[in-house]
């Protein structure tokens, strides 16, 4: 009898073991994914420009909405809601053929009219028309950057209603929405790209990086963001950590143009005084890359020619040419725990150069410490976006690498922007979350993710 029990135990253990092993390694449908983000958008409308831009917001939009075209991991344009496109001969008119038999989550059909209406809302200055089953966009050139622009989440196709609840065609639809706090999404059974493996995703918003990591460690979250300065520690702790390419620009942005030659010298002195290397070592714990260019080198190819080394003698020399030194305020995001230390450190560097800089947790300051998420891997689109963030015009918007370089040099020559660092997007996930990745541009691929047995 004892032998029989022992054998039964061994056999049943093997069976259970086999089942568990299969469950751990096989893609499975079902389960709710718990995500935490620091961003706390109060609108789901991807085109709502009043919402602060963040990678989390963009990625949430991709779960609910589709764009006309999309980019693959290499940044190449691929069809999405548009099955094909062309520039009409003899014009700067783009024609996009809309995918047939598509429906919004509320059951209404996706039409060329609804696509055009969505694009007009997102881009009031665009000339968007409808021609049977296709959408026409008049663009100022045949520049393919239009495609990169259309792939941005802010140009996602949404059907907007009076109750401010836009609906899309993405892999998940909204079940519950508590603005700025919590979003619950459910899998779209009839998603044109195939039903997602996950049944639902619950996103808790406005959660600090520290609390996100605690939630992950307690098993309350499966997928969290990681602050750059925490990545080393998280990696050391054996957590599943994934980084994008450096796609966020941390920069000082002056509120206005320099009013005089003296002020230009002082801005130059400030730029030369900043010790990016030691700031990276101490405050960023080695994360990110020191930057003196707006675009990261992996995007432009030439970023390495901009020196990131501090040059205090040169800073003092520039400062010495000015007799009257104003006191600048440097504004930072008070909810960003690291921003305060950055601002303090920059003020200290400035002081060494003989400048007066006072950190303040407000947006109304002479210069601001900004995190600017680069919107696209297309360098022209990214440069234009940064210029827009700084309130600067971007003269040329297309061309070769030397044109790009010249445009970036011209932007930097305005002395409105002092690049500091290029930071990656970092995310940590529980071991039960499978088949997801973080693309170089910071995009999550949660639509293809699935949960292992532990979270079912």
């Amino acid at each position: 009898m004892r032998l029989f029990v022992w054998r039964w135990f061994v056999v049943s253990s093997m069976v259970v073991g086999a089942l568990v092993a299969r469950a751990e390694t096989r893609p499975q449908y079902g389960g709710m994914l718990h995500v935490a983000t620091r961003a706390a958008p109060t609108s789901l409308d991807p085109a709502d420009g009043a919402q602060p831009d963040s990678f989390a917001r963009r990625n949430l939009a991709k779960l609910m909405f589709d764009t006309l075209v999309t980019t693959d991991e290499s940044g190449r344009i691929q069809p999405s809601l548009a099955t094909g496109w062309q520039v009409l001969p003899g014009s700067q008119r783009w024609q996009f053929h809309i995918r047939h038999q598509m429906k919004f989550h509320d059951g209404t059909p996706l039409t060329a009219e609804s696509v055009a209406a969505s694009l007009r809302t997102a881009n009031p200055s665009w000339n968007v028309m409808v021609d049977a089953d296709s959408v026409l966009i008049d663009w100022d050139s045949s520049n393919p950057d239009l495609l990169a622009e259309l792939a941005l989440p802010r140009n996602a196709i949404a059907k907007r209603t009076s109750d401010n609840k836009p609906t899309g065609t993405g892999p998940f639809h909204v079940v519950d929405w508590q603005p700025g706090k919590k979003l619950t999404l459910a899998a779209e059974e009839n998603c044109w790209r195939g039903r997602p493996f996950l049944d639902a995703i619950e996103i808790e918003m406005g959660i600090s990086f520290r609390d996100q990591m605690t939630a992950l460690e307690l098993g309350k979250a499966d997928f969290v963001e990681v602050a750059p300065e925490q990545t080393h520690r998280v990696s050391q702790a054996g957590r599943r950590l994934t980084n994008s390419s450096p796609v966020e620009l941390l920069a000082l942005v002056f509120a206005r143009d320099a009013a005089s030659a003296d002020e230009k010298l002082l801005r130059e002195a400030l730029a030369w005084s900043i010790e990016r290397g030691s700031i990276r070592s101490v405050l960023l714990q080695g994360a990110g890359l020191p930057a003196a260019s707006i675009l990261p080198t992996w995007m432009s190819g030439y970023g390495l020619v901009f020196s990131t080394e501090a040059d205090l003698p040169r800073a003092r020399q520039a400062r010495a040419q000015v007799h009257s030194i104003p006191s600048w305020t440097i504004g930072y995001d008070g909810t960003d725990p690291l921003a305060h230390f950055f601002a303090e450190r920059i003020a200290l560097n400035a002081k060494d150069a003989g400048l007066l800089v006072q950190p303040t947790p407000t947006t109304n300051a002479d210069l601001r410490l900004l995190r600017i998420p680069l919107p696209s891997t297309d360098p022209w689109v990214a440069l234009a976006d940064v210029a827009n963030s700084a309130g600067l015009p971007l003269g040329k918007k297309q061309g070769g690498v030397e044109d790009l370089y010249a445009s970036e040099v011209a932007l930097l020559a305005t002395q409105r922007v002092i690049p500091l660092f290029h930071l990656p997007v970092s995310c940590a996930s529980s071991s039960s979350l499978k088949n997801w990745s973080l693309r170089p541009d910071g995009s999550w691929t949660l639509a293809d993710a699935w949960l292992g047995n532990a979270r079912q």
């Binding site: 096989r26 693959d72 190819g301 030439y302 020619v305 690498v401 030397e402 088949n435």
Partner: protein, 445 residues
């Protein structure tokens, strides 16, 4: 199967090798093989046309400096291989000299020229920083197209591929396995969508021994794929989407099929569990553990879930096919993912690349070249496919054979059980027949 065609003159691939397993002679031949490969690689790398961007950059630099004495540094900050870097560096020096620059030490130079071979996500970017006296630094640059794959650039053909016709029939062939052979196959199994047929070479022709039906409840997905794997204790196992069949051991054979999502083997039985080195004759080696992958029962690809980890990776992207290459201290796996990328996984990193490859690839262990070649179909769209052999001396594949062309698209491509040859099934675009070929790597032409 009256339509069956067999080329009875299947050569023993190993006998064609110039590298035999005898210690001294073998080592000499290995050295000779490697020298030949290196020579070919050097020649091939030299064939890359960097001339235009070199000339462009040189013209731009000299437009700033004017002719005269300059100090030059060239630094590689890109994925350009060391070999190409050296070629570009020499090319730049040469074209700068032709443009009027004379290279001297920095303290004697009128201009300091620092060239960075950089890159962005789309192309190589070569940037020159020019300092002249106390004046401002000038920056000039050019972009050089980076091919989606350097395979064409790294043209090198020390090896060749030989295709030997094994079987032809009108119905789709999912796989063919050779069960017995002397100078050529004498006993084969042919997997169709609905049956496994066994043929024996007798009295100068192929005769069907037996046909075993495959029972399955669900309809097959489009582009049905399958594998035949010879077994030790029975004749063979059959892997189909959502179904695995096991044959009996002796005639008359039976075939027992069951609905299951059990994994398909990725490592040929003859290689599984062995220890192999990156180069023939090298002292140490890496173990090749058995590895299986789950196949989607309703699709035509593997799910990406693996039976055991490749280092830290227990799942990879969904893929159509896989190959592996032993490196010095690890096994490099290549997955042809459904998104068109090749994922190169070494156990720590998942490097994503886009080569000029199709969705079918496999690897073979041979006594040629580096000892392991990846056979990959071409990515070109059209009615006819080709296959080419590649090696991985560095991070990029180097073509080591000319492409071998087929008369139609390849519908199946698997490594054979011994691991040294592959079976390619082609749908002949003219006849509409399915033709199975054995592909062998031949050491010299």
């Amino acid at each position: 199967m009256g339509g069956a065609v067999y080329n009875s003159g299947i050569p023993n691939v190993r006998s064609n090798s110039v590298c035999h397993p005898f210690p001294v002679a073998y080592m000499l031949r290995v050295v000779a093989c490697l020298s030949f490969v290196v020579l070919q690689l050097t020649i091939a790398a030299g064939a890359v046309d960097w001339n235009e961007p070199e000339q462009q950059l040189s013209r731009k630099i000299v437009a700033v400096t004017g002719p005269g004495a300059a100090a030059l540094t060239v630094e590689n900050r890109s994925s350009l291989s060391k070999r190409d870097y050296e070629i570009v560096q020499n090319g730049l020096r040469s074209s700068l000299e032709q443009a009027g620059l004379r290279f001297v030490a920095a303290e004697q130079a009128a201009a300091l020229v620092a060239i960075f071979l950089s890159e962005n996500s789309a192309s190589y970017v070569w940037v020159a920083e020019i300092r002249q006296g106390a004046s401002e630094t000038s920056v000039v640059m050019v972009s050089a197209p980076r091919p989606a794959s350097l395979t064409a650039a790294h043209e090198s053909v020390p090896l060749s591929l030989r295709k030997i016709s094994v079987w032809t029939q009108a119905d789709p062939i999912l796989d063919v396995t050779v069960l017995e052979e002397n100078a050529g196959p004498t006993h084969i199994a042919v997997l169709g969508a609905e049956r496994v047929a066994l043929y024996r070479w007798q009295a100068g022709k192929w005769q069907q021994e037996q046909a075993l039906s495959i029972l399955h409840a669900r309809p097959w997905p489009g582009d049905v794929r399958g594998r035949l794997i010879p077994a030790k204790d029975h004749l063979l196992d059959v892997y189909l989407p959502g179904v695995i069949c096991r044959s009996g051991a002796a005639a008359p054979l039976t075939l027992n099929c069951r609905e299951t999502d059990d994994p398909w083997p990725l490592v040929p039985a003859a290689l599984s569990g062995g220890i192999y080195s990156a180069f023939p004759g090298a002292g140490s080696g890496v173990a090749i553990p058995p590895l299986g992958a789950f196949y989607t029962p309703t699709r035509n690809f593997f799910t990406g879930a693996l039976t055991s980890g490749i280092g830290k990776f227990t799942t990879v992207s969904k893929f159509y096919s896989a190959a592996f290459v032993p490196r010095d201290k690890y096994l490099l796996w290549l997955f042809a993912a459904t998104d068109g990328h090749i994922h190169m996984i070494d156990g720590i990193n998942d490097q994503v690349a886009r080569f000029d490859w199709g969705s079918d690839l496999t690897s073979v262990k041979t006594s040629c070249g580096a000892g392991w070649q990846v056979l990959a179909t071409s990515a070109e769209e059209g009615n006819a496919d080709s296959v080419r052999a590649y090696e991985f001396p560095d991070r990029d594949p180097v073509a080591v054979s000319p492409a071998i062309n087929f008369t139609g698209v390849i519908t199946a491509f698997w490594t054979e059980a011994k691991g040294d040859t592959a079976i390619a099934v082609v749908k002949n675009q003219e006849t509409g027949n399915y033709e199975a070929f054995r592909l062998a790597v031949v050491c010299s032409q």
